[in-house]
Symmetry: C2
Subunit: 235 residues, 2 copies
DNA sequence: ATTTTTTATTGTTTATTTAACAATTAAAAA
DNA sequence: TTTTTAATTGTTAAATAAACAATAAAAAAT
């Protein structure tokens, strides 16, 4: 089966940057490594690509292992291939980032992997080049979210406009005028207003909305702009 | 050295989608495969990642092999990892795309690799999943060029505004009003007007411009928009 | 029961940007 | 000298974005 003779074969890994939003801050899910090297240190969830699975399949498998989730937003980010990135053996790693509804995350899985959610700004140092991967993921999510409605993937089915705005402000580390934000969001035609309100966040209560999936898929590729002054933000 | 025991090791390749612009149409550089599998069929230029080089280094090496060029625009595109993409042996491939000044391309290298420039629209069928790679590269170049000034990488140091417009029209397969285009381009502050004209293209002649490199690097990350109605183009 | 407090919701005006559109100029060719 | 061809410059209307404040709903406090 090895017909390309004399060529180097190497390990191919997948690492997942898993984002979640708790209503306050953007978070990432990290695990405490259970074995050497770097045992006990914080790391992204990862694993090796198996012989009979594609890289995408490997990424989905690893995401499901840690979160219990399938069919969620998962996008290939970048492949990291420095010769020295793994001290044990030459390994290339394909990084993926996932956007999940943090409430659907199966908490009991945390125990198995010693997993923990960290606010993106206060995450611990990570092993290997995982820090670079997270940085790249942050840039990508901002870049993409500035023009495509991917951040809805972080919210539950029903959400309020103030929640959505908090999410955008959190991702872009900025503040947005709520009148203009609401106008832009509603103008997209992506939202369906529901009859009842979320009373948790305020006395008055805010109406729930859900995505119009028809329009969501139709407009996903289109450039939109919820973020004012996009070129003032260094993405 | 192989301490992650029982894991699959596989071949890691790099494939380059090389874009050039001849003043008329956007082109890609393809080679005729010299050995099996698929000997004699058209293919992207590629090669295996060696043990002591990073993936980026491999991409640069392969680009130089075919074009003689170094230090040109080269960006990682996507990693392709289907289990069946190479019929001989499991191989993952990291695709890169390059934007080069077609005039700097060293033509004699064409002979060594049986390389040929094809208009993007009239390129032949390609081996393996190289067709998918080219499609992904087309999408990416459009996406990125809609907001970042990468297309200048395809032009010679001195170029005219009509040439630049032809390039944009070619990449986006559209027509642009020349008055508005000229205004937008000049408004970026990216161009320096030179004293002499290009007399080849017209009787009157068009002034040469060159990039203001200072502003080019400063504004590279910023979102710009040379393309009217970006959401009407399906990127 | 009334007032206070807090956050959600709605709207208007101005500034900026984009789109649509035509006339003039330079230089070679006829 | 006239014709031809493509480059260059400018104006107006429409659309979009930014800046800004008042009102409404509902719980909590008095």
């Amino acid at each position: 089966m090895q017909k390309y003779s004399k060529q180097t074969r190497l390990l191919l890994a997948v690492d997942c940057i898993i984002f979640g939003f708790d209503g306050e801050t953007l978070k990432i899910l990290l695990i405490k490594r259970a074995f050497n090297p770097e045992k006990g240190n914080w790391s992204l969830m990862g694993g090796f690509v198996q012989f009979n699975e594609s890289i995408d399949q490997a990424a989905n498998r690893i995401l499901k292992q840690l979160t219990g989730l399938e069919g969620v937003y998962l996008e290939q980010l970048h492949t990291f291939g420095s010769t020295t990135r793994d001290p044990i053996e030459r390994t290339a790693s394909v990084a993926y980032f996932a956007l999940i509804d943090i409430h659907k995350y199966e908490t009991q899985l945390s125990n198995d992997y010693h997993a923990e959610w960290f606010p993106l700004k206060r995450a611990p140092k990570l092993v290997f080049d995982h820090q670079d991967m997270v940085e790249a993921a942050k840039r990508r999510i901002r870049y993409k979210a500035a023009m495509h409605p991917i951040l809805f993937e972080l919210l539950p089915t029903r959400f309020t406009i103030p929640q959505l705005q908090t999410l955008y402000e959190s991702v872009f580390n900025t503040t947005i005028d709520k009148r203009n934000f609401s106008k832009r969001v509603l103008a997209t035609g992506l939202l369906i207003k529901l009859a009842d309100k979320d009373k948790a966040g305020s006395k008055r209560g805010a109406y729930y909305y859900q995505l119009n999936m028809q329009n969501y898929y139709a407009k996903f590729q289109a450039f939109m702009n919820f973020i004012p002054n996009p070129d003032s933000l260094h993405l």
